[in-house]
């Protein structure tokens, strides 16, 4: 062992190229989201907090620079970079509160790349890469919840196309999206997992109505009603009655949850700076709570980076991705809670209200952060996945 030289093994730092990309994206968002650019562009009824026009313009500029498809393979017109680039883009978008998280490629990219035929790909991908289109994911339904075997929306063949009936619920961005990726029953006699198909549907078609339901944080989620809605034959994405495995396969999408860590990092930085700038920074219990959250932030970053690292090696991290999701989303709640406590009653004031500190950020955070622990697989389901995939514990009989 004598004289053996240390060669670094474990390394949590980004490689130089990825760090350079992060710096570039950071500069892009710092400019795009500068106060003089965002003034007058607010829309509290949208999850992003910004108007649709502002969001589309920003996404087009991100598309022009090749950011939206940075991790899409080159043969499909993307940047061909590893998935970690997409994750870092999500982190920076969240950190800067930019409406560039739920892009068409983020939400529906893996479905289109994985299952679309050549003609569909040619039709959708260029616009997705360019940031010229918004898309939604419409899987769940009022009666389905987290148990997607209970999907009731149906699609039947008629003429050269399909007729869709049913209601899709809790759809982010439905009111502004051109398309929704949905799964419907196509063989009512087959077991659910073998009797569904996936569709990419133009939401401007007849028989389709989007209702906006206000959330407790003032923005809206969409409910999409299909009433004998006729869609063309090329709305079918992938294979007939293969909707279930395709839906599961779309989990191959980037899952580090780095966007959550972008918000968490920014929020905790603001609270630490707040403590430094007031007498709070000298109070023991405040220092301890901020320190504890800083440790948890480090853990959240470790979990997210572990997912990035595995994805870049071509692996599909299952329980690691669930751990990253659970940890980051619950950390966001803890940071928001401390934010409200440190800011006092003024912390509860929304943006635009007189004397709202940090432009109402923590009022919004305190309400908002219930949402990520429930969406994209409630954290209870994620914990089930961790126990099953990570610890080989048996499920319910």
């Amino acid at each position: 062992m004598k004289g053996r030289r240390y060669t670094p093994g474990v390394d949590f730092e980004y490689p130089a190229e990825l760090a350079a990309f992060q710096a570039e994206v950071r500069a892009f968002f710092a400019e795009e989201m500068a106060p003089e650019r965002t003034r007058g562009q607010r829309d509290p009824r949208d999850l992003t907090g910004y108007s649709e026009a502002f969001e589309r313009a920003l996404q087009r500029r991100a598309g022009e620079r090749g950011y939206l498809g940075i991790s899409v393979p080159r043969e499909h017109g993307g940047g061909g970079r590893p998935l970690s680039y997409k994750a870092v883009f999500g982190f920076e978008a969240a950190y800067h509160d930019a409406p560039a998280i739920d892009t068409a490629l983020t939400l529906v990219g893996s479905q289109v790349l994985g299952y679309a035929d050549d003609r569909q790909r040619e039709r959708y991908l260029p616009r997705m890469l360019a940031g010229e289109v918004l898309m939604s994911v419409a899987y769940t339904e009022p009666e389905a919840g987290s148990d997607l075997t209970r999907i009731q929306t149906s699609a039947r063949r008629e003429g050269g196309g399909f007729v869709i009936d049913g209601v899709k619920a809790l759809v982010t961005g439905a009111h502004k999206s051109e398309y929704a990726c949905l799964v419907a029953r196509t063989d009512p006699d087959a077991p659910p997992r073998r009797g569904m198909s996936m569709f990419l549907v133009d939401l401007r078609g007849s028989g389709i109505r989007v209702e906006r339901r206000e959330t407790m944080n003032r923005w809206t989620l969409g409910e999409i009603h299909f009433e004998s809605a006729r869609v063309p034959g090329d709305a079918l994405l992938g294979e007939w009655n293969r909707g279930w495995p395709q839906m599961a396969g779309s989990l191959l999408a980037e899952r580090s949850g780095m966007a959550h860590m972008g918000w968490a990092t920014r929020n905790l930085e603001i609270l630490c700076a707040h403590a430094r700038g007031t007498e709070l920074g000298g109070r023991g219990e405040v220092r301890e709570r901020l320190a504890a959250l800083r440790c948890e932030l480090a853990t959240g970053l470790h979990f997210a980076k572990r997912v990035m690292w595995r994805q870049d090696r071509g692996e599909v991290p299952v329980h690691e991705a669930s751990m990253a999701k659970v940890y980051a989303t619950e950390l966001l709640q803890r940071i928001a809670r401390l934010g409200l406590e440190l800011l006092g009653p003024e912390g509860t004031l929304y943006r635009g209200s007189p004397s709202a500190p940090y432009d109402g950020l923590f009022a919004w955070e305190a309400i908002e952060r219930i949402h990520p622990t429930l969406s994209v697989g409630a954290n209870e389901l994620q914990r089930d996945a961790i126990a099953r995939a990570g610890l080989s514990l048996p499920g319910d009989p």
């Binding site: 062992m1 474990v10 430094r276 504890a292």
Partner: protein, 370 residues
């Protein structure tokens, strides 16, 4: 970004693990802990023969020049095996201190210590200052050709069987490192009976003769560095123990039948297990990130402090949750869970009270007002 150990690190881990599986299963760990000197001297000698005791000492000083990651790997395996061994006090603290501050005349002692033939321990903690080397009050006074020590040290691991101590003491010039023979006149060793597995003693110095190692009052920078490395290795030990406790409880809940099914199939158990895995992994990541930063020479104050918070928290939470999963039988002494549970609780105060650990993080975050 890379989350894999190098081949040489992996093989070190595999070698340590294989040796401990062979020589320190849970029955052996119990026997060693209950007997004298509180660990298996043959196992310690084997660590010496394999060169592992030299890892904390730079090659230039006659050691193996191990990285902090390697120290942590050994720690993690010891934690996993719940193996009582003077890895902290004997190797990472005393051995490293002798290597760092001992002069040429100490080379023979160091070589013997690294072979596992000279048993050393490290005297840091005091009744009023359990963890902070800068808070040391043990009095060092010059007397003719040597020094005399007066005061009390506490929680000196495996001290009753040590042949010599490296003690931090304060002279007019500041905190220095001193060599004290175990049989020195004016030194009394009092065995303490604790939940820990490192056979702690109290050392009472009443004019005990000592040799100064290094400069008078000049021990702190180097001792601080090696104590950081030792603390990170202890963090890894806690992480290893947390994961082992989780695995032990998982093995139980997969087999244990209640109400007609394996209790591991109940969601209450599965969700608890998922949380335990997150805590155990959080500890491991925190320990190794701190270790890699120390090795790379990056600023590490924040990360070393965070590792201590995360790992003590995780080890205590995971071992307690494991007891909840195992029910009453886990409380029996002949079940292994108690080993990790006790070690987690004994190790945490060695890294400072919870408030102190958090305060170190807060200080690194520069939260001071204005």
């Amino acid at each position: 970004m890379n989350l894999e150990f190098t081949p040489s690190q992996s093989s070190l881990r595999d070698e340590v693990r294989a040796l401990l599986e062979q020589r320190c299963d849970s029955q052996a760990a119990r026997r060693a802990e209950a007997g004298e000197p509180g660990y298996d001297p043959e196992l310690w000698a084997e660590f010496g023969r394999r060169g592992w005791l030299g890892l904390p000492v730079p090659s230039a000083r006659g050691g193996a020049g191990g990285s902090c990651v390697e120290l942590a790997l050994v720690g993690e395996e010891l934690g996993r095996a719940a193996c009582p061994l003077p890895w902290q006090t004997g190797a990472l603290q005393a051995g490293a201190a002798l290597g760092a501050l001992g002069g040429a005349s100490e080379r023979t002692r160091l070589a013997a210590a690294l072979r596992g033939e000279l048993r050393l321990s490290f005297a840091l903690a005091e009744p009023d200052s359990p963890v902070d080397p800068a808070g040391v009050r043990l009095e060092a006074a010059p007397s003719a050709d040597r020094w005399e020590l007066r005061g009390v040290k506490r929680f000196v691991g495996f001290a009753h069987s040590a042949e010599a101590f490296l003690a931090l003491a304060r002279s007019a010039a500041g905190v220095g490192l001193f060599w004290v023979e175990a049989g020195a006149p004016g030194l009394e060793r009092v065995r303490l009976d604790s939940i820990a597995a490192d056979a702690p003693c109290e050392l009472r110095f009443d004019g005990a003769p000592a040799e100064l190692l290094g400069a008078d009052g000049g021990a702190l920078p180097e001792i601080g560095t090696l104590l950081d490395r030792a603390a990170v290795a202890l963090c890894a030990e806690l992480a290893g123990g947390a994961r082992a406790a989780l695995d032990y409880a998982l093995d139980y809940v997969r087999r244990r039948q209640q109400f007609g099914r394996a209790i591991g199939s109940f969601q209450a158990i599965r969700h608890r297990a998922a949380d335990m895995l997150m805590q155990a992994d959080a500890a491991r990541c925190a320990a190794y990130e701190a270790a890699t930063r120390l090795d790379a020479g990056l600023p590490a104050e924040l990360h070393v402090a965070m590792a201590q918070v995360t790992c003590t928290h995780a080890a205590q939470r995971v071992t307690a949750a494991a007891h909840q999963m195992m029910g009453g039988v886990g409380f029996y002494a002949d079940r292994d869970l108690q080993l990790w549970y006790r070690r987690a609780r004994a190790a945490a105060p060695l890294l400072g009270a919870e408030g102190q650990r958090l305060e170190r993080v807060a200080k690194a975050l520069e939260l001071e007002a204005g």
